[in-house]
Amino acid sequence: MKIKNTLNQSVVSLLLMSSTTLLSGLSSVNAAEPDVKRGLEIAIEADKRENDFIDSTASMVMELKNKQGQTNTREVRVKTLEVAGDGDKSLSIFDTPADIKGTASLTYSHALKPDEQWLYLPALKRVKRISSKNKSGPFMGSEFAYEDISSQEVEKYTYRYIKDEVLNGIDCFVVERYPAYKHSGYTRQVTWINKKEYRSEKIDFYDRKNVLLKTLNFSGYQQYLNKFWRADTMHMVNFQTGKSTILSWKDYKFKTGLEEKDFNRNSLKRAK
């Protein structure tokens, strides 16, 4: 047996507020309530604006900072393929820390049924299918949970519109969302959504006891192909541990010509 089962569940579609829409199954019981209906409408509009990106590639640097201010970095490259009518497929390749270099993960994400995930361990040349249960665990020891960085589908939450609010000079909708998938670490998330561009500006995460756990701030938004907004920086602060993580994105590319065959079990072995 091999001890290294790290990156268990490692995921990363990393495109917060992206992906395709499955409009079926959205009729929640209280959908008649105006605030619920409004919340859902905002989520659907935000999702719609992410449609047809086809595929994307990007690199990220993750800087982990503990309470004492010590830092650790990780570098990951991410390829994503849009799947019509389902969650995205994504391939993540880990470049640092050096001891896990070459490790790669492949995820077929789904709205409500469990994601399918594989992990490639280069030292053993072994591909392992792994369980997708660990949604609330830390991604690579960071303050981002797996569920924070996985493909965001409309159906993964139910919604409630709360109010309009100006955040750092930006007109926002404040929408609460409640995880509809199993094994979430949250009771709810409060999202500030840019009224004009329907992109997330800030998310507050409340833990299973409904206590504020983390805040995620998005900054340095850039628009690609005159349509898709991506934040250069995502800053997550954990109020309960005093730790924080900064995700810095670069080299975003869209419609690069990736195909299904770049996202199968065999391609995982040659991901490099």
Partner: protein, 419 residues
């Protein structure tokens, strides 16, 4: 030593965890790129007991160094690549453990729905954790560790076809690699020592015999399924008693074999179910006449894996692995795993330093032999890892070739620097 190999399959050392990829360019560009990566490490082994009186050449403390750099170059939109991974270990006492190997020296080209790899390489087949019955392409580098997870590079021509009906790999293996064995000063080892200058083969072509293998793999939702066939020289040697300079030795013999195998895993959100099973035709020594006779046997490993996520309100995960190991030759098997139970506990703290620990036991339900192992590792100072291993061997059968390892309980520390 086949025994020793199969005997200790508990855990693998992350020391072998050489980093593979080498990509300086973070972008997924079409440009060619090349890179060096790898690790250097220092290792100490300390044995709790003095060696047996019959093995006065052995020591109580061993020091060794290893290096495993990797050169990787890719071009033509990464469709063509070259990987070179030499490995070397220098051991303080064991002249056989002081060894080098080309783990990888291969060229790969990716075409539309197939790919070709030519050169020295490694493949992994299978799904279970306690032993790897199905994984028969690469020879075990058994001087590296007792768990048998370290492999020697295998010369191969490999074509992999990706079709709607699954992935088909076809292998031609033109050269056989002998298993590595400890020198007289090595520890733990068989007693008497294996003399690989007296190696013999069933095939008159010896190590030049050309082996063939095929493997089909596909997945259907929660089910992953693999079928494989191997025809060639067995990676597992048999042993017969011999003499060298008047002293008793074991002589390795490599028979030809045909093996059919199946491996399957069902992955639900909560639980993993695993199965590996083989049927093998080969020669083995008859236990009474000590003559080589044809043998057909069946063996399997099956089990489950369950992970408790976020235990005791922390970020830590605790994984539970239970596997049953069976061989239909019963006590005649040249493996200790004929009716054994393996249990493992894997703790992942999920912190920034990737602190992990694995506790494992394999228990023989017939004769109460058991093997215990504890492995713990963490990262430090960015590019360094520390790995601690403890291995304990208890109640080893009196008739075993590795009876002497009862005295070979040890603790091992690896400090590795990755670049």
């Amino acid at each position: 030593m086949n025994l020793l190999q199969r005997f200790f399959l508990l855990v693998n050392t992350p020391l072998a965890g050489i980093s593979m990829s080498g990509i300086l360019l973070l972008s997924l560009s079409v440009k060619a790129h090349a890179d060096w990566s790898g690790n250097v490490a220092v290792q100490t082994r300390t044995f709790f007991n003095d060696p047996l009186i019959t093995n006065p050449q052995q020591h109580n403390n061993y020091l060794s160094f290893s290096a495993e750099p990797e050169y990787y170059s890719a071009w033509n939109n990464n469709d063509q690549s070259l990987t070179i991974t030499p490995f070397i270990r220098i051991d303080q006492y064991d002249k056989e453990r002081t060894h080098g190997d080309l783990r990888e020296f291969s060229y790969q080209q990716v075409f539309d729905d197939w790919e070709l790899r030519v050169g020295v390489s490694k493949v992994y087949w299978g799904v279970t954790e306690s032993q790897h019955l199905v994984d028969v392409i690469n020879q075990t580098d058994s001087v590296e560790n007792v768990d048998g997870e370290d492999k020697l590079g295998q010369p191969m021509i490999k074509a992999t076809f990706e079709k709607d009906w699954g992935t088909l790999g076809l292998f031609v293996l033109p050269y056989f690699r002998e298993r590595t064995f400890q020198d007289i000063e090595g520890r733990p080892r068989t007693s008497p020592v294996v003399d690989d200058t007296q190696t013999s083969y069933e095939s008159s072509d010896k190590e030049q015999h050309i082996d063939y293998a095929a493997r089909w793999f596909n997945y259907y939702g929660e089910l992953e399924l693999g079928l494989a066939y191997f025809n060639g020289t067995s990676r597992d040697p048999l042993f017969s008693p011999g003499l060298k300079n008047g002293a008793a030795v074991l002589k390795p013999y490599y028979p030809l074999m045909q093996q059919l195998s199946i491996d399957a895993q069902i992955t639900t959100e909560e639980l993993l179910f695993k199965l590996e099973a083989i049927a093998r035709d080969w020669q083995n020594f008859d236990s009474i006449t000590l003559q080589l006779v044809d043998e057909r046997y069946f063996a399997l490993t099956t089990g489950i894996e369950y992970t408790f996520v976020g235990i005791i309100e922390t970020d830590a995960d605790l994984g539970l692995v239970v596997e049953y190991l069976y061989d239909d030759r019963d006590q005649q098997a040249n493996t200790f795993f004929q009716n054994d139970l393996m249990m493992g506990l894997r703790l992942a703290i999920n912190d920034a330093d990737s602190t992990e620990a694995l506790l494992g036991i394999i228990y023989d339900l017939d004769n109460q032999e058991h093997l215990l192992s504890l492995e713990a590792s963490r990262r430090f100072a960015g590019n360094w890892t520390a790995t601690l291993e403890v291995r304990l061997f208890n109640n080893i059968s009196d008739t075993s070739l590795v009876k002497s390892i009862e005295e070979d309980d040890f603790v091992q520390l690896d400090i590795a620097y990755y670049f």
